[in-house]
C-alpha cells in the first residue's frame, strides 16, 4: 500500500510564532491529548522572546515521541540516536558557543538510555537548555514502564504495576550540578515558557522537567482518562513552590491522589560554564 505524501503549504502569517514552526511538516504524528505540542509551543515562544537571533537557536532531540519535537521547529534541528541527544548537542555548543542549543527529549531518552550523559553534561555545566518531557512511560513503543514510572503504575512491561523507585529528576539535576532546575506541567504554559526563556539567557546547564499527558499509553493503562483528565490532575494536585528548599522530597506520585505534585523553579545559581 502506498501512502500519499501530504503537504500543507504555510499560509500567510497568522500567529507570531508561525515562522518558528515547520508548517510544511504538518500534520504531526502526536496523539490527541498529548502534551508535546504544548511544550513545542512554549519553546518557540521562548525563542521569540529570547532576543537571540533565530538563526542562532539550535534544537536537538533523541528518540521517542518527545524526540520528534526537533522536527517541528523551524531552527537548525537534529534528531540524534536514542539517548545521545546531549553529547550530540555538546558537540554543537562547544564548537560554536554563539549558538543557543536546546535539547528537547523524553524521560526515557534522557534519563534511562541517556542517563550517563545527563549527569556528566550537568557535572561539566555544558551550556545547554534541557527540556525533559516526562510522560511517565515509553509512549512511542506502546506504554512500557521506565525510570520515571511511579511505583504501582501499570505499563505493558509491568502489568501488575511498577515496582522500582522512580527518579526524582529535579533532585538528580541539582545534585549533578545543573545551574537552573525547574519542574512544570503543560498546564503551566506561561511558567514553563518563562523557565525556558530563563534557561536560554543563562550560561550553563539548565534542566526543566515538564509533565505531559500520554493518554494513549500511560493514561489508558492507568485509568487516568484522556489528556484533559490528566491536566485536571495537574490542576488539582500541583503546588507551586519556587525555590523549594528540599528538592530531595519532590518525588511525584501520580497515582496516589492524596499527594501533592510540587512544581516551580527550584534552583537558579551561577557556576562557571563549560567551554563558552
Amino acid at each position: 500500500m502506498t501512502v500519499k505524501e501530504q503537504t500543507i503549504q504555510p499560509h500567510a502569517e497568522l500567529y507570531p510564532v508561525d515562522k518558528l514552526l515547520r508548517a510544511d511538516r504538518l500534520p504531526h504524528i502526536l496523539c490527541p491529548g498529548c502534551g508535546i505540542g504544548t511544550v513545542i509551543h512554549g519553546y518557540v515562544h521562548a525563542i521569540a522572546a529570547s532576543g537571540v537571533d533565530e538563526d542562532n537557536h539550535v534544537c536537538v532531540s533523541g528518540i521517542g515521541c518527545s524526540g520528534r519535537a526537533s522536527g517541528y521547529v523551524n531552527v537548525d534541528s537534529y534528531h540524534a540516536t536514542h539517548g545521545r541527544a546531549l553529547p550530540f548537542a555538546l558537540g554543537i555548543a562547544v564548537h560554536n558557543p554563539e549558538l543557543n542549543v536546546t535539547v528537547i527529549s523524553g524521560d526515557g531518552d534522557l534519563t534511562a538510555i541517556g542517563g550517563n550523559h545527563l549527569i556528566h553534561a550537568a557535572r561539566r555545566n555544558v551550556n545547554l537548555n534541557v527540556i525533559c518531557i516526562n510522560n511517565f512511560n515509553y509512549g512511542m513503543t506502546g506504554g512500557q514502564v521506565g525510570p520515571t514510572t511511579p511505583i504501582g503504575a501499570k505499563g505493558t512491561t509491568a502489568p501488575n504495576g511498577a515496582v522500582e523507585y522512580p527518579f526524582n529528576l529535579p533532585y538528580l539535576a541539582k545534585a549533578t550540578g545543573a545551574i537552573f532546575v525547574a519542574r512544570w506541567t503543560i498546564l503551566h504554559v506561561r511558567e514553563f515558557q518563562d523557565a525556558v526563556l530563563r534557561s536560554m539567557n543563562k550560561q550553563g546547564f539548565c534542566f526543566i522537567e515538564v509533565l505531559a499527558p500520554c493518554p494513549t499509553s500511560f493514561g489508558k493503562a492507568n485509568k487516568i482518562g484522556d489528556g484533559l483528565h490528566e491536566v485536571e490532575i495537574y490542576r488539582e494536585r500541583c503546588r507551586v513552590e519556587n525555590g523549594a528548599p528540599d528538592v530531595e522530597a519532590l518525588d511525584i506520585d501520580l497515582i496516589d491522589e492524596s499527594k501533592a505534585i510540587t512544581v516551580g523553579n527550584f534552583v537558579d545559581i551561577e557556576r562557571k560554564p563549560f567551554m563558552v
Partner: protein, 394 residues
C-alpha cells in the same frame, strides 16, 4: 620549523598549527598531527589503550591552536559529540580501540545517515572483548565496514608507518568532507606505538578543505541538505548558517524531513552506498611492488605489510616470482587493482597474512577462483617475514 629530535618531538612547538619539518615521531602522535594539519577543530574521546597517546597529544596541542578538546564519559558520547560538532561545521575526530569502536557503531550509522563528515582513528588491538589491550591486532577490519546495522558507505585507511599515520589522517579528513561520510584510520598497536621518521609538509603544501557548501544565501527557497550533485554528494549547511536544516537518522527526503516510505528508503540507502562505490576509483589507494610478472601475490596492509614487504624482497632475491599488493584503503576494497592483476594471467595464487582469522582474505576470495592462502594470527603477535617467506617458497 627546524628539524627536531626524538626528545624535541615530545616538546613540540605546541602553538604551531602545522608542525612542518622532519620528526622522529610516534605513530599515534603522527595521527594527531595529521588531524591538526587537516584543520582539526574538535576532538572528543575516551582513554583506551593503545590509542590514548592520540588524545593525550591533542589535549596539549588542540587548545593551543584554537580547537576544543573534550574527554567524554564514554565512546557512545565521543562519537555523538564529534557528529554534533561536525553539524556545527567542525573538522572533528575521535580515537579509540576495539571495545570503544564497538560502542561507537550505532552513531557511526547516524553519521552515515545524516551524511556528517567525521574521522575515527581506531588503533586496533587483539580482540574480541577486552582481548589483549596492549598487544597488536587487525581485528576490526570487517567491523569498520559492516559494524553498524544496515547498508551504508564509508572509507577506511590502513597505515603501515607513522608517516602514513600522518598522511592518511590528513587524507581521511579531506575525503570525509568530499563524500560526507565517516572515515576511519584503522591503525594497529604496532604502527601506533612505533616511532619513525615523519615528514610534515609546509602549511602551503597541504590540501585545501573541500566540504561543499550551499550555493545560494539563506532565506530563499528551503535548502535541501540531501539533494545530491552528479557525484551523489549533496552540499552541506551547518548549524548557525541560517539555512534551518533538519537532520535525522530516520529515512528522510531531500529536505531532511522524515519520510516513512519504502521507495524513499531504497533510493536514499542506495545513494549512501553508491556515492562511495561509484567513486571508488578516486578513493582507492594501494601500492603494488613487483606484481607485473608475479605468480604469487602477497596482499597485505597495516603493520603486517612490513613483514610482507621484507618477505617479498627476500623471495625476489631468491629468484621467486612474487609481488606485494599493499592495501592503503581497505574500504572501499581495492577490487579493480586485484581484478587487473588477475587478468594478466601470471598469477597462480594469493597469500593474505593478517592479525585476525581471515577477515580480508574473504574479500580476496570473493574476487578470484585462484587459491588464497591464509596466514593468520588471532592477535598479540605479527606474522613474521620468515613465516610469509616460507609460504612463498612452498
Amino acid at each position: 620549523m627546524p628539524n627536531s629530535t626524538a626528545a624535541a618531538s615530545v616538546q613540540v612547538d605546541i602553538e604551531a598549527p602545522v608542525l612542518s619539518g622532519t620528526h622522529f615521531m610516534l605513530g599515534d602522535h603522527a595521527c594527531a598531527e595529521g588531524a591538526l594539519a587537516a584543520g582539526l577543530d574538535f576532538f572528543a574521546g575516551y582513554p583506551i589503550t593503545p590509542s590514548t597517546e592520540i588524545a593525550e597529544h591533542l589535549a596539549r596541542r588542540l587548545p593551543a591552536v584554537g580547537g576544543r578538546f573534550v574527554q567524554m564519559e564514554d565512546e557512545l558520547a565521543s562519537m555523538a559529540a564529534i557528529i554534533g560538532a561536525s553539524a556545527a561545521g567542525a573538522h572533528s575526530l575521535t580515537a579509540t580501540s576495539g571495545p570503544g569502536f564497538s560502542l561507537m557503531m550505532e552513531n557511526i550509522g547516524l553519521a552515515a545517515m545524516m551524511e556528517l563528515p567525521c574521522v575515527v582513528a581506531d588503533v586496533q588491538r587483539a580482540s574480541p572483548s577486552t582481548g589483549l589491550p596492549t598487544m597488536v591486532g587487525q581485528s576490526d577490519i570487517l567491523q569498520a565496514r559492516w559494524g553498524s546495522h544496515g547498508d551504508y558507505g564509508i572509507i577506511a585507511y590502513c597505515p603501515s608507518s607513522p608517516q602514513e599515520c600522518f598522511d592518511l589522517t590528513l587524507r581521511a579528513f579531506h575525503e570525509a568532507d568530499r563524500y560526507r561520510v565517516p572515515a576511519f584510520i584503522l591503525m594497529d598497536e604496532v604502527v601506533g606505538h612505533m616511532t619513525e621518521r615523519v615528514l610534515i609538509p609546509s602549511a602551503d603544501d597541504l590540501p585545501v578543505p573541500c566540504r561543499k557548501g550551499p550555493r545560494e544565501p539563506p532565506g530563499g527557497e528551503p535548502f535541501l541538505s540531501y539533494a545530491p550533485d552528479e557525484d551523489l554528494v549533496p552540499p552541506i549547511a551547518h548549524a548557525g548558517e541560517g539555512y534551518k536544516v533538519h537532520m535525522t537518522g530516520l529515512t528522510h527526503d531531500e529536505r531532511g524531513y522524515p519520510a516513512m516510505f519504502a521507495e524513499t528508503h531504497d533510493k536514499l540507502i542506495n545513494r549512501l552506498v553508491d556515492k562511495i562505490r561509484l567513486n571508488a576509483a578516486d578513493i582507492v589507494m594501494y601500492e603494488a611492488v613487483d606484481v607485473d610478472d608475479a605468480d604469487t601475490i602477497v596482499v597485505s596492509f597495516g603493520c603486517t605489510a612490513r613483514s610482507a614487504r621484507h618477505a617479498v624482497s627476500q623471495a625476489r632475491r631468491e629468484g621467486l616470482k612474487c609481488g606485494l599488493l599493499r592495501l592503503i584503503t581497505v574500504w572501499p576494497f581495492p577490487e579493480t587493482p586485484i581484478r587487473e592483476i588477475i587478468k594478466r594471467g601470471n598469477v597462480k595464487r594469493f597469500i593474505v597474512p593478517e592479525i585476525n582469522l581471515g577477515q580480508l582474505r574473504r574479500e580476496v576470495e570473493r574476487l578470484t577462483h585462484l587459491p588464497v592462502i591464509r596466514l593468520n594470527h588471532a592477535g598479540g603477535a605479527m606474522p613474521t617475514p620468515n613465516a610469509i617467506l616460507e609460504l612463498i617458497r612452498s
